[in-house]
Symmetry: C2
């Protein structure tokens, strides 16, 4: 079990110098002669020396490690975000712990506890919801990327889109194409909706602004599951079976949109002509569909960049310029709204 590795003591002994000198040489600090440097470097290489991170962390009270918590790495949108953030952090000399919370509060709390014990230098919460306010025993900087809920830390930054505006723009795009009865489909409403961050708010606001009567039968909401695809298809089937009709669908998520498209196709509806559909996230689901699904690009790349930027600033002890960073989004029109 005890895998004896080479330590700086071993190298110091072999080189006939002190551990301080070895440490200095390996870290380009202090002063030492060229001869000593070459000697130490050579021996370190020969012995296959690798620094023990635990020792370093213990002494420096910094692990150079960041925790990335996300509800579902298998979701294209989140994994893109996570990977981008991980890459940026690695470039800055940080290692990332990627944690999958599955939107489970208990698991999230458990993760946070263990992460504090592991002395992570910072935390990035991605794309989920933190319902319970968790008080962490140390003051670690936290960045929320497309994430709702607070942790109650003194150093916290929020990065994300203006979600109400996103659904507003989606709705507007459908009406611009001449749709008159636009449905809203969502399979995560109860989970993701909070007072301040209502993903669907823009849909309601648009209707209100335009003086269009809201038809509650066209608001299709289901519980969030891994199978949001099938869930969404069922909602559409139930709605149509009940005799309600629509010519446009705002789907809060590409997976949901794909389910809607599949359900419509199965009923012989020509999507893009009879019914126009728009999804959200510009994920793989909207791109692989045929017809290709219109969507909203939410700029995961930029989110990750701004988030990591803010985190690194906080790690250097700076107070972030803004508490809340809004990243622009962009409607991408494809076959399901353009028709053809």
């Amino acid at each position: 079990m005890a895998k004896r590795t080479v330590s700086i003591y071993d190298i110091a002994k072999l080189a006939g110098v002190s551990t301080a000198t070895v440490s200095n040489v390996l870290n380009n600090k202090g002063s030492y002669s060229e001869k000593t440097r070459d000697l130490v470097m050579r021996i370190a290489r020969e012995q296959g020396y690798v620094a023990n991170f635990a020792a370093k962390s213990l002494r420096e009270a910094s692990t150079k490690t960041i925790a990335l918590l996300t509800p579902d790495v298998s979701n294209d949108f989140f994994s893109t975000l996570v990977l981008k953030a991980e890459g940026l952090l690695r470039a800055a000399g940080y290692t990332s712990y990627i944690c999958n919370t599955a939107n489970d509060d208990e698991r999230e709390a458990e993760y946070l506890r263990s992460l504090i014990s592991k002395q992570v230098d910072g935390i990035v919460l991605i794309g989920g919801v933190t319902r319970d306010r968790i008080q962490l025993p140390v003051d670690v900087p936290v960045v929320h990327i497309d994430h709702m809920g607070a942790l109650g830390m003194s150093r916290e930054v929020y990065v994300g889109n203006d979600m109400p505006q996103v659904s507003y723009d989606m709705t507007a795009a459908l009406f611009a194409h001449g749709c008159e009865h636009v449905a809203l489909v969502s399979v995560s409403a109860s989970l993701y909706r909070t007072a301040e961050h209502d993903q669907a708010a823009g849909y309601y606001r648009y209707l209100e602004e335009q003086g269009i009567r809201l038809d509650k039968n066209l608001v299709l909401e289901g519980p969030h599951r891994q199978t949001s695809l099938i869930e969404a298809a069922q909602l559409v089937d139930e709605c149509l079976d009940a005799g309600y009709a629509f010519d446009g669908v705002v789907a809060l998520g590409d997976r949901v949109a794909l389910g809607v498209v599949n359900a419509l196709k199965a009923r012989g509806v020509t999507v893009g002509r009879d019914v126009r559909v728009i999804g959200m996230d510009d994920s793989i689901y909207s791109r692989i569909s045929s017809p290709a699904i219109s969507t909203v690009r939410r700029n995961t790349g930029q989110m990750a960049e701004r988030g990591v930027e803010a985190l690194l600033a906080m790690l250097q002890g700076n107070v972030p310029a803004q508490k809340s960073i809004v990243v622009p989004h962009e409607v991408i029109e494809r076959a399901t709204t353009l028709g053809e």
Copy 2:
């Protein structure tokens, strides 16, 4: 920067006992009176004590951390495997580092170096290829799950399917449905093919065994990209444009199969009747497609289980019963081979 946390010294002082006693109480070791235990526990709770993992790791030469390396977490198949393994490891008291190598040798080597420095207790390599033989300076147990290539460690275990048999069964399934000209589509051949692990080998073997002449024009291979979907569609288009014909397709991967199906549909071919297609992995791609794509379930759950099991055994110092563990696979027939 220096976030002073509560240490056992603080607790010892407050409780008027030694650190040894505090440590014993917190770990249920040694002996102490009930009064002392309650006192120490109460103070620890009050002070929000969290053990410093770095200190523990340093002392115990074990980090209770396992590294999970995979080429692409955004790939459904791998992420399922990774998450399952992570869950099992967490249940056994281990934390996982999830690392995305993007099939980049250099990055993999960099990761391994840093992981050794971080003193991981074990390594799980998932679904990729390690081309260069990397010698690690410590003898850490390694498990390969659906992964090709060796690390040259003394404690290594391989877990995976019998891949040649998988492609054999795929090919056989198509011929069983009456196909006569079966194409092979792969967009990762050059990468994934090694002498021992030829994913396509079963295709060739089946043809040979049945005395069917191999038509090289029906072997479509492209370079591996993130866009394997589009890649695969292009290969199909090129083949058909060149005037070659087939009535069955063995696609090495569901993403590839989906590309093939999309390309065929775009040409007005009725998939499942005119041309039968079978994919591999039973991933989200085969399930969301319409028509649903026949595939091979490779049992990621069982792979993760057997792999973690073997790893835990090695971590306890046991020599694994088998060097190589084969997990059974299963052909799942759906609309693209059944027709309707």
